[in-house]
Symmetry: C2
Subunit: 254 residues, 2 copies
């Protein structure tokens, strides 16, 4: 029996990145696409609990088993796909290919990666893919080939339970990529800034802006791999327990 | 100088839980409240990047330095508070007290906890509090006293960098609580279900429902502590790297 593969993303069901990812998965199994009906970047692990959800069949020019757009978040898409559309857990979930990086701390804000993390919660091998190129004309050829290689390995070897993969791909041609590196998440943050503007009625509002700061000089991080034109692969877990901190807390007066 | 404490939540700026938490923090420092203007449960680590944000001063009957409602998510509240309202990093961030549990896997869906995790990203000691009682008439007295104890310890001892605390408090009176336990996150998931309904025009829509399944029999988990009427304290980290899985991935053909 051919593997059953769920494809989703956070840029919307007709984004170039998800079309490239779907094409890259075609040789590997039967494909079902369930993805947001509008951009859902930065949605993190949001799930719709105070509103209804809609699911619409959409026409895909790629020969998939089924394709749907969903009114909710990427995590909603995974939940609806597993429990309503597919009626069984898929053998693999792939999310992306995101238009822009999800390396280091971006993993926690990313809708692309939250879809993969939801797969890990469900004990399904899951991978999120992101290309370091925000532009509308981004070339997804190399990223699609990388996605095919990693998905093939995930289907063959599995991924440890409760873990998914955060894969970031440098911009450029496939032959210019130096290789694929298993990494840890670099310590980094966004130094936020807020544009203060006035609306036509003269009332203030804010736009989030900011600058990415890599605080990590390690050569085993995703940031280091990407800076050297390697694909970065970070195994990401849904057990958030900081085991090393348990000792520290034993000293508290509780 | 008195400690500067940021109070936020995901149930909205006038929820009973945040009023109880603010009162519990009053003896410990100067308080600034920045919290959502509407319920933001289940928003996970969502951040508003495709829309503007509004900030409104609100009147609090508790003697705080300042209180604002924000049109965004809990993570937006933390970012706006640090970078726009307070103009410096606070000494402590507390989030909650959530109306309902955020134990085990709920940590990744929770807006309450995502505000605390955002604090950890910013290297600020941060704690999320949740009471195991969803009802509108929930009694937050015991939870407020627990919050005071833990906040006092966090101000005195600090919390390891990149780590925040997920604190869940059993329902009931303070004297009925057996103690406070440092735990790991239990392995669990939601077995989702979707109610299928028809709108007045006859078109189908879905509501997320589901059943919580604890898959973990360990006696060192938050679920086990809560079941025995202990407060559970799980240290939570923003480095999501699954270090134990790196070895496994070295065998892949990449």
């Amino acid at each position: 029996m051919k593997p059953l593969i769920l494809v989703t993303n956070d840029d919307g069901v007709f984004a170039n990145g998800i079309l490239a990812l779907t094409k890259a998965m075609l040789p590997l199994g039967d494909i079902v696409v369930v993805a947001p009906d509008k951009p859902q970047s930065g949605m993190g692990h949001a799930v719709t609990i105070n509103n209804l959800l809609r699911l619409y069949p959409v026409k895909y020019d790629i020969p998939v088993m089924a394709a749907y757009s969903c009114s909710g978040t990427p995590v909603d898409c995974v939940k609806l796909a597993i429990y309503k559309v597919m009626h069984r857990k898929p053998d693999l979930i792939v999310s992306g290919i995101n238009h822009g990086s999800n390396s280091s701390i971006n993993v926690i804000y990313s809708g692309t990666m939250s879809a993969a993390v939801e797969g890990a919660v469900e004990s399904i091998p899951s991978i999120g893919f992101s290309l370091l190129d925000h532009s509308a004309e981004a070339d997804f050829d190399a990223a699609g080939r990388v996605a095919n290689i990693l998905a093939k390995n995930a289907l063959q070897h599995g991924i440890p339970e409760g873990v998914c993969l955060n894969v970031n791909i440098p911009k450029g041609q496939f032959n210019d990529i130096h290789g694929i590196k298993i990494c840890r998440q670099a310590k980094a943050l966004w130094e936020d800034n807020f544009d203060v503007r006035k609306d036509p009625a003269g009332k203030e509002y804010y736009w989030l802006t900011g600058e990415f700061k890599n605080l990590d000089e390690g050569d085993d991080t995703d940031e280091a791999a990407l800076a050297n034109n390697f694909v970065s692969v970070v195994p990401v877990q849904c057990d958030l327990t900081a085991y090393h901190a348990i000792q520290h807390l034993q000293h508290w007066k509780l």
